[in-house]
Symmetry: C2
Subunit: 439 residues, 2 copies
C-alpha cells in the first residue's frame, strides 16, 4: 500500500454482512478516513448474483461473478471474505495470501477447521488474516483477548456466542415454551435459519470457542477436539427448576486452562442468575474472560446482523491499514502469541472436565430412595450443594428430585449416574446439565 492512496478492498460476497460492510464503509467514509489516515474503499465486488451486487453498489466500483479475479487483482490491497463455508472460501483465502493480500474474514468455520494452515501461509507471506467478525459480531472480543488483556495469564473464558440459541432459551424461560415452539418463533422472527442445525447443535458456538481457546492460551486451533452439545434436548421443565434454584440455563462456550491441558466445550449450563452473564437475554452475545491480573471482565453486544458484523470487519480493515507499514514480525500475532511460541497443551476429553452438575431424577416416592442416591454420590466423592424435592404428583407415587453438586470430574458424575440409574426406585434416565459458577 502506498501511504497517500486509498486502501482498495476486494469484497467477496455482498449478502447480509457484505452489504452491511459496503453500506457502513460508504456512510462513515469520512469518519473512517479521519481515523485510519486514508480512505478505505470497496474497489471490486464478487458475488454470484451480479444484479444484487450492482443494485447496491451502483457505479461506485467494479462488480464480477468471478471471485478468483478479485484475489489475484494487483489493484486489490485487502480481500474481505464473506462467502462462508470452507470449500471455495478456503481456496480463495489461500490464493489471496499467495498473492500477498491481507485478508479480513468473518468465517469462523473456515478458521476453526483450517486456521493453522491459513495463519502459517499468511505468516510466511508477511500478510495478516484478521477475524474479529468471526466471534461475537461487533463486540471486539478478539482484540480484547489478544491485545487488551495481553498482560494476563488467561485462566478461562465463558461466552454466550450464539444469538439464535440464546434467543430460543430466553423464549423457553420467559414464555415457558418447549424447545420446538421456541425454535419456530425464532425462525419466524429471523433469528434462526430454515436449517438451524449449526446453531442449535452448538457447532457454530464450538467454532468460535475453538478460536477463543487458541488466542487465549496460545495453542493451535483444534475444532476436532472440542466437545459439542446443543440445546435440542433441553426441557422447559429443567429451565423452570433451575429458575427455582436461582439459575438460568445458557448455551455456553467454555475454555479453561488446567495444569494438564485445556478444556474446550460447548453445552447448556446453569449460571447463577446474579451474574451479569445470566442476564444476557434474547439474541445478544456476551463473553466473560478471567485473567490472573485483571480478574473477570465482560464484553457484551450484538453478535450478528449486517451492521454489527460489518463494524468488526471494518475495524479489522482499519487495523490492517494502520499496520501496513509495520515490519511483519512486530504485528499482533494471529493467535496472540508469536507463531514459534505456541504451546502444545492437549485438549482434554470431556470426561476429564471439571464442573458442577444439575441432576434431575424421577424417583418412586418411598422411604430409603434418597438414602440410596446420596450414598452413591458420596461413594464417588461427589458432594451436594443444593437439593429440591417436589411434592409427588397425586396418585402416581413418583416425584422429581433435583440436586446441584459441587465441582467434580465429569467421569465421576457419569459413574454415579450409571449406578443411580440401576436403582430399582429410579424411573427414566437421570437428566444431567453442567453448572458453571463463573467465579
Amino acid at each position: 500500500m502506498n501511504s497517500i492512496q486509498p486502501v482498495n478492498v476486494g469484497l467477496l460476497g455482498i449478502g447480509t454482512v457484505g452489504g452491511g460492510t459496503y453500506t457502513v464503509l460508504a456512510r462513515n467514509a469520512e469518519e473512517i478516513a479521519r481515523r485510519a489516515g486514508r480512505p478505505i474503499q470497496v474497489f471490486i465486488v464478487a458475488d454470484s448474483d451480479i444484479d444484487r451486487a450492482r443494485a447496491l453498489v451502483g457505479d461506485s466500483c467494479q462488480v464480477t461473478d468471478e471471485p478468483f479475479a478479485v484475489v489475484t487483482d494487483p489493484a486489490v490491497d485487502v480481500v474481505v471474505e464473506l462467502i462462508g463455508g470452507y470449500t471455495v472460501a478456503r481456496d480463495l483465502v489461500m490464493r489471496a495470501i499467495e498473492n500477498g493480500k491481507h485478508v479480513v474474514t468473518a468465517n469462523k468455520a473456515l478458521l476453526a477447521l483450517y486456521g493453522n494452515e491459513i495463519f502459517a501461509a499468511a505468516q510466511q507471506k508477511g500478510v495478516t488474516v484478521a477475524f474479529e467478525a468471526a466471534v461475537a459480531g461487533g463486540v471486539p472480543i478478539i482484540k480484547a483477548l489478544r491485545e487488551g488483556l495481553s498482560a494476563n495469564r488467561i485462566e478461562w473464558v465463558a461466552g454466550i456466542i450464539n444469538g439464535t440459541t440464546n434467543f430460543i432459551l430466553s423464549e423457553m424461560r420467559e414464555k415457558d415454551l418447549p424447545f420446538a415452539d421456541a425454535l419456530s418463533e425464532a425462525q419466524r422472527l429471523g433469528y434462526a435459519e430454515a436449517d438451524p442445525t449449526f446453531d442449535i447443535e452448538g457447532i457454530d458456538a464450538a467454532h468460535k470457542t475453538t478460536l477463543i481457546a487458541a488466542i487465549a492460551f496460545g495453542i493451535p486451533v483444534q475444532f476436532d477436539k472440542a466437545y459439542v452439545e446443543g440445546i435440542t434436548k433441553l426441557e422447559a421443565l429443567d429451565i423452570r427448576y433451575a429458575g427455582q434454584l436461582g439459575y438460568r440455563i445458557k448455551l455456553l462456550g467454555v475454555t479453561k486452562r488446567r495444569q494438564d491441558g485445556v478444556e474446550l466445550r460447548v453445552h447448556p449450563a446453569l449460571v447463577p442468575e446474579k451474574r451479569l452473564l445470566a442476564n444476557v437475554e434474547g439474541a445478544m452475545n456476551a463473553v466473560l474472560v478471567k485473567g490472573d491480573a485483571v480478574g473477570a471482565t465482560l464484553y457484551y453486544g450484538k453478535g450478528a446482523g449486517a451492521e454489527p458484523t460489518a463494524s468488526a470487519v471494518i475495524a479489522d480493515l482499519i487495523d490492517v491499514t494502520r499496520a501496513a507499514t509495520t515490519d511483519p514480525d512486530n504485528r499482533v500475532p494471529h493467535l496472540a502469541f508469536q507463531p514459534d511460541q505456541l504451546h502444545d497443551l492437549a485438549i482434554l476429553p470431556i470426561e476429564e472436565a471439571e464442573t458442577a452438575f444439575y441432576l434431575r431424577l424421577t424417583v418412586e416416592d418411598r422411604p430409603g430412595v434418597l438414602a440410596d442416591i446420596t450414598r452413591i454420590l458420596a461413594d464417588e466423592g461427589i458432594s451436594i450443594d443444593a437439593m429440591l424435592q417436589k411434592e409427588p404428583e397425586e396418585g402416581k407415587g413418583i416425584t422429581d428430585i433435583i440436586m446441584l453438586t459441587h465441582v467434580c470430574r465429569e467421569k465421576e458424575a457419569n459413574a454415579a449416574i450409571r449406578k443411580i440409574e440401576a436403582l430399582s426406585s429410579i424411573r427414566n434416565y437421570v437428566t444431567k446439565i453442567r453448572l458453571e459458577n463463573l467465579q
Copy 2:
C-alpha cells in the same frame, strides 16, 4: 529499541499500581515475551521511598529517588508514569517525550488537563503516550473505543467509571443507608480514601469522561467544560423511590454527540433496572458505548486495584513494543483520529443537555396541587412518563410526589422547577435527578 533486546522500562512510582505492574511483569514474564516477541523488563525504578522500592524489586533492577534520572536515561525505552497528580508528573512526562521515550501512564487527571500539549509533543517526537489504565482500570475500553469500534460513528458513551461512588451507591441501596454512613463503610473497607473528594464529587469520573469524549468524537480534551456533580447530596429516600419505579441510581459519566455540539457531564442518574449497566454493583466499572453500526456494546470489570490497573499498563507496554517499528504516522492516533483531523465541536453547557428527569416534590395534601404542577410542566413542553404519589404522613398534611419526565432540555426543566417552587403548596426545594434510558 533493537528487535532482539528486551524492552527496558523506567518505572516512576512503585506504590499500589507500580508495585502491581512490577509483580505482574515478573510473574507473567514468559507469557508476556511469548506474546510481545521479546522480554519486557523493569530496568530502573524511581520512588521517594527507596527502601519500599528495594524491598519489592530486590537486585533485579536499579532503584533511585531521582525520577528525572529515569526519564533521561539512554537505556530506558519506555517510561511508565504512576506518580499521579499534575505537577511533577507533567514535567516528567514532557521530559520523557523530549528524550524520545514512549510513555505509559494511568494518570487521568494529567491527561484530562494537559493531554492536548502532551499528545502534541509526543506526535512531534514520534513517540506514543498510552493510557489504557487511565479509564476503567483493567477493562480495555480505550482500545475498544479507539480500535475495536473504529468503523462506527459513536453516538454516546455512558459509564460507571468510579468504583468508590458505585460501591457507596450500592451500599445505600442494599442497606438503606444515608450517604455519610455508606462513605464511612467504604473508607473502612479501603474503597474510599481518607480524603474522598475527587471520587465523591465526581471529579475523577469527569477526568475519565473527558478522555472518553476526546477519543469517541475526535475532539481535544476539555476538562474545564465538563459538568461535574457528585453524589454527596443524594438521599437514601430517592434511591428507594427510584427502586419503586424500576430504576437504580448510578453516578454516570455521559458524553453524547449532538448536531450542535457534545454533551460532557458527570452526575447521578436513574437507569432502568433491566439494563445490564444498572446491575453493576459494588466497586465494579462498566462502560456502555453506542455506535451507529454496532449498536450498544458494554465493557465490564474491575476499575481499580493494583493488578487490574497493572493489566492495562502492561497491555500498553506490549502495544508500544509491537508498534516500535511502525512508522509513527501509521500508529493508532492518541485520540483515535489523526491529529490533523480533530473536530472543533463545542462542549455544550449543561442547560442545553437533553435528558429525562426524576422530580421529587413535597406538597400540601389538598385539591388542585397536582393540577397546578402538571400545568406548569405542560406550559414548558415537558410531558410526564410516570408518577408516584405517596400516602400523606399522618397528621402532617404533606406528601411526596415523584414524577419521571420524558426527555427535555435541562433549561426547560429548570424553568418549570422554579415556577413549581414558587407555588404556595410546595414545601422545600424540588429534588431533581437526571434519568438515562440508555437506548
